[in-house]
Amino acid sequence: MSDFDLELDARGLNCPLPILRARQGIQKLNPGQVLHVIATDPGSVKDFEAFCKQTGNELLAATQESGEYKFDIRKGQ
C-alpha cells in the first residue's frame, strides 16, 4: 500500500502549472490525506515550499532523484 492517497504527475510542466494541478488535487482530498507530486521543474522545490506555507498544507517530504522532484503534501484542516 502506498503512503499517499493521490498521485499527481507534473513531469514536464513548469511554473505555475504544477502548483495549479496540486491545488486541484488537494481539493479532492480530505484533511489529513496526502498528495504525492512528481515534478521535473527545479523551481518546484521553492514553489511547493511557498505553496504549503500559503495554504496551510504540510510539506511532509521533498526529495530529489535523477532529475525528478517528489513531494508529499498532507492536506491541512
Binding site: 513548469n14 505555475p16 511557498a50
Partner: protein, 204 residues
C-alpha cells in the same frame, strides 16, 4: 578609499551599479573591471560576492523581476480558471517590471546583442506564460471547451502583446496610449487575447 560596508550592503550596491551599466550597455558592453571601477573597489571584491559576470547579471534580473512565490500566490488566490490565473500572473509580472524599466532596457539590449545566454535568461522569464498558455489551450481543446488552436503561436502572440504594452508605457511613454494606464491596457489586451482564442470566461 571606499568606506567598509557590510556584506549585504556591498552586495546591494554592486547590484544597483551593475543594473545601471547592464541596462545602458548590455551584457557584453560591460566588463567586471568597469563595474568594479565604478564602485571604487577591486574586481576581487566583486568576485567575492558573485562568482562570474553571468551570475551577477542573473542576480540583477532576479532582483527586478517578480519572485516565483508571487506566482504561487497568484494561483492560490485564483478561481483555478485559465483566464483568472493568466490575469493574475500577468498583473504580477507587469507590476514588478514596470517598477523598474531598467529590466526592459536590459531585455532590449539582450535582443540587440544576439547572445544565446542572455536571451535564455529572458526566455525563462516568459516561460510561466508561454508554457501555461500552450499547455492550457491544448488541455481545454482536449476537453472540447475550446476549438483547437496552435497554443505555441497563441503564447507568442500573448508575449508580444504584453511586452509591447510594457515598452509603450514604460520605455517609449507613447502619448497614443496616454488615456489608459498600464493595468487597463493589459486587461484590454488579455480580453482581446481570450476572445481571439475563443475562450469564454467563467461568470464571476
Amino acid at each position: 578609499m571606499s568606506k567598509r560596508l557590510k556584506a549585504s550592503e556591498r552586495k546591494a550596491t554592486i547590484l544597483a551599479v551593475a543594473k545601471v551599466l547592464f541596462s545602458d550597455k548590455g551584457y557584453h558592453g560591460v566588463s567586471v573591471d568597469e563595474i568594479a571601477r565604478r564602485l571604487g573597489v577591486s574586481p576581487a571584491i566583486l568576485y567575492r560576492h558573485f562568482p562570474s559576470k553571468e551570475a551577477l547579471y542573473e542576480e540583477v534580473l532576479n532582483s527586478i523581476a517578480c519572485k516565483r512565490e508571487s506566482y504561487v500566490e497568484a494561483v492560490v488566490n485564483s478561481d483555478d480558471s485559465f483566464s483568472d490565473v493568466l490575469r493574475r500572473i500577468t498583473r504580477i509580472y507587469i507590476e514588478s517590471v514596470s517598477k523598474d524599466p531598467d529590466y526592459l532596457r536590459m531585455e532590449l539590449q539582450s535582443a540587440l546583442e544576439g547572445s544565446d545566454a542572455t536571451r535564455q535568461f529572458f526566455e525563462n522569464r516568459w516561460r510561466p506564460f508561454s508554457d501555461f498558455i500552450e499547455f492550457s489551450l491544448k488541455e481545454l481543446a482536449a476537453q472540447k471547451s475550446l476549438a483547437p488552436v496552435n497554443g505555441r503561436v497563441a503564447a507568442m502572440a500573448f508575449q508580444g502583446m504584453i511586452r509591447e504594452a510594457l515598452y509603450a508605457k514604460c520605455i517609449y511613454r507613447s502619448p497614443r496610449y496616454r488615456e489608459l494606464d498600464l493595468y487597463e491596457l493589459s486587461e484590454h489586451l488579455i480580453t482581446l487575447f481570450l476572445n481571439a482564442v475563443g475562450y469564454v470566461e467563467p461568470e464571476k
